[in-house]
């Protein structure tokens, strides 16, 4: 019996025994039902992703995971890099892991044998931290951490103060500096190819990767993972870190992985095989 179902039955049982079949029990039942995931949904105690940067880097110029993510989440393509909105994208290794190459007084030049790694493109996205600074600083709880580790974002509560953008050590949050698909009613908006199953955003709110929470709820894998497995090198592995039988756990057991800026205490849950 899965955990949430057990939890539901316990709550329901306790409600009936403890309070009698009264109005409060009905409320408790309804609450418990509300938390019960859709049958067939993918659930986990702790979602995590492992990215194999080796196989990923071999397919130079591949943008399939990014394209898939941005398509299903209605992420706009904005030319001006200052105003870009991105959920998953490529950064050279030296930017994804800056402390590895940072030096002063010219010493950084001495690690020339590592040059092959410096410019290797690495996929970066929200790290779904266990101790997320963005959640700590948000003044409206528009961003919060779910029990399964996913850091969520309510783009309709966000006031656009960008405190989370300031707090994120990974540059993983994007602010909508303008209406992402043109102003309401404009030609640009009418011609935009939008996926109606995912909400679009207004200007002035922050957004980011949500580990495809809406797809997990329907029993589907995150769009980037699915696409990379089907059409790419299969460099992205997603699963439950708390389940020792899971594929992500298996990789972590046998390969040496690193996390971005783990020393900051955020406990990021994207692991990189180098």
């Amino acid at each position: 019996m899965d955990e949430s179902r057990r939890c539901f039955l316990k709550t329901a049982g306790a409600s009936i025994v403890g309070m009698g079949v009264g109005a409060s029990a009905v409320t408790a039942l309804a609450d418990a039902l509300g938390d019960t995931p859709y049958l067939g949904a993918k659930t986990a105690k702790r979602w995590a992703m492992v990215i194999d940067t080796r196989s990923c880097a071999e397919t130079k110029g591949c943008t399939k995971c990014m394209d898939a993510c941005h398509r299903v989440h209605n992420v706009p393509t904005i030319e001006d890099p200052r105003h870009e909105v991105k959920w998953i994208w490529k950064e050279p290794f030296r930017h994804a892991f800056p402390s590895m190459f940072e030096g002063t007084h010219g010493y950084e030049d001495r690690v020339q044998p590592l040059d092959w790694l410096k410019d290797r493109d690495v996929m970066v996205l929200c790290n779904h931290c266990d101790n997320p600074p963005c959640v700590r600083v948000c003044p409206t709880q528009a961003t919060w951490k779910r029990e399964d580790g996913i850091v969520m974002m309510d783009m309709h509560r966000c006031i656009g103060c960008r405190f989370c953008v300031v707090g994120c050590p990974y540059g993983s949050r994007s602010f909508n500096w303008k209406d992402p698909f043109g102003k309401p009613g404009s030609e640009e908006r009418k011609n935009a190819k939008l996926d109606p199953s995912f909400p679009t955003r207004t200007k002035g709110v922050v957004e980011k990767c949500n580990f495809c929470a809406e797809r997990l709820a329907k029993g589907m894998m995150p769009a980037c993972v699915e696409t990379c497995a089907k059409e790419g090198p299969g460099s992205l592995t997603f699963g439950d870190l708390a389940d020792s039988e899971s594929e992500v756990a298996a990789i972590l057991k046998q390969a040496y992985t690193i996390r971005r800026k783990a020393a900051l205490g955020t406990s990021p849950h994207i692991f990189y095989v180098v």
Binding site: P81, R82, P139, G167, G171, K203, V206, L264
Partner: protein, 385 residues
């Protein structure tokens, strides 16, 4: 009392008109920003806060600095500040109002600002910043109303106001401390992650605020029959001297810690600020100007002969304000974002529209200050005459 603001000399009305024109231009520029989004500013995904939030930071200091008049006068019964206290409190009010407006124009979704109080989040420093600022505004309005009202009637202020005045002293310190916490608690931004940021903020505030008050008093002396007293202004300039010395000292402490420890992520921000990185050095000329002005101000302030001279005092005050405004109102916020957490150097420059909105807010502050000072001075002139 407010009726005193409704009659005045042509000069007074010209000043009011001047403020209104800039407020109008600012409002017009803001409408554009409201329509098109924050893309009209120079901000970017790499530098998400800029000129607006920097002005907030500088002005919280100006607001907090009223305590430098309130504390000696009410707590130590320093009589010479008697004619100055109300001018200090009346400077704090428009300063806080401007802070609030600068927060408001910086929001992506201005209309949703109430969410901060619908979904109260005590772990967010921004919630505390908004709360203490509003509290401080309330305190200053009540205190100035009650004490000034009593003075006008020629009676002693009621006893219950004293604990409120005492409360306003730590409260003033708190508004700037909490503002420093907006910055100093981010693991992502090593430039601000310094325990000395709050003391630094307070020191620079207690220099810039009283310096501004001295300049305002010098104008008041010249333009009206009301004289806050040169003795009080000279005492205030001593406060500026101490605070400015502390402020410069604190910056030197930061520079020692950062460069002696040699941690690249910490060094890069200072390097960008003073020298630039990869030829990108938008802040460098400003920071050197700020440093030179700080030295000029310190020399003029520390030598009593200069500080007390007719020209020395205003020049020292202008140099102090300009130096600290560049540091806080331009560099401090932006340099925290350059380089960004990925080590990329992406610069920021405010746009004309951004500056126009900011001027509009400053003009609003000027208008409130003019009206409040007009009331205070008219009443005082009446009492003197």
């Amino acid at each position: 009392m407010i009726e005193k603001a409704l009659s005045g000399s042509p000069k007074y009305w010209a000043l009011i008109f001047f403020w209104l024109v800039f407020m109008g231009l600012g409002a017009f520029a803001f409408l554009g920003q409201y329509q098109d989004g924050l893309q009209v500013t120079g901000l970017s995904r790499d530098v998400p806060w800029g000129f607006y939030i920097a002005q907030l930071t500088f002005l919280v200091g100006i607001a907090a600095s009223a305590v430098m008049v309130v504390l000696p006068y009410y707590l130590h019964d320093y009589k010479a500040f008697g004619k100055l206290a109300i001018l200090g409190e009346f400077l704090a009010i428009p300063a806080v109002l401007m802070c609030m407006l600068f927060v408001l124009v910086d929001m992506g979704q201005t209309a949703r600002i109430a969410n901060m109080f619908i979904y109260i989040t005590p772990n967010s420093v921004m919630f505390w910043d908004a709360s203490v600022l509003m509290g401080y505004l309330g305190l200053n309005i009540v205190i100035s109303q009650v004490t000034f009202g009593a003075e006008r009637k020629g009676i002693a202020p009621p006893k219950w106001i004293r604990p409120i005045i005492i409360l306003s002293i730590p409260w003033a310190v708190s508004i700037h401390t909490v503002t420093a916490f907006l910055y100093s608690g981010h693991a992502a931004r090593p430039f601000w992650m310094s325990a000395i940021l709050a003391p630094r903020f307070l020191a620079s505030a207690f220099a810039a605020g009283p310096a501004l008050l001295i300049l305002l008093c010098l104008v008041v002396r010249k333009q009206t029959k009301y004289d806050p007293g040169m003795k009080a202004l000279h005492k205030l300039s001593e406060i500026v001297a101490y605070a400015m010395a502390a402020s410069v000292f604190f910056i030197l402490l930061e520079i020692f810690t950062v460069f002696y420890s040699g941690i690249p992520e910490h060094i890069h921000h200072f390097q960008y600020m003073y020298m630039g990185i990869d030829g990108k050095a938008a802040l460098a000329p400003w920071m050197w100007t700020s440093s030179v002005l700080a030295i000029v101000a310190l020399v003029l302030l520390l030598v009593p002969r200069y500080r007390k001279s007719r020209m020395g005092l205003p020049i020292a005050c202008v140099a102090t304000i300009a130096s600290l405004w560049i540091e806080k109102g331009m560099s401090l916020v932006v340099a925290g974002f350059v380089p960004n957490p990925l080590g990329q150097v992406i610069e920021y420059m405010p746009t004309g529209q951004e500056l126009m909105i900011s001027f509009g807010i400053y003009a609003f502050g000027g208008l409130v200050l003019t009206v409040l000072y007009k009331v205070a001075i008219s009443v005082r002139e009446g009492l003197q005459g």
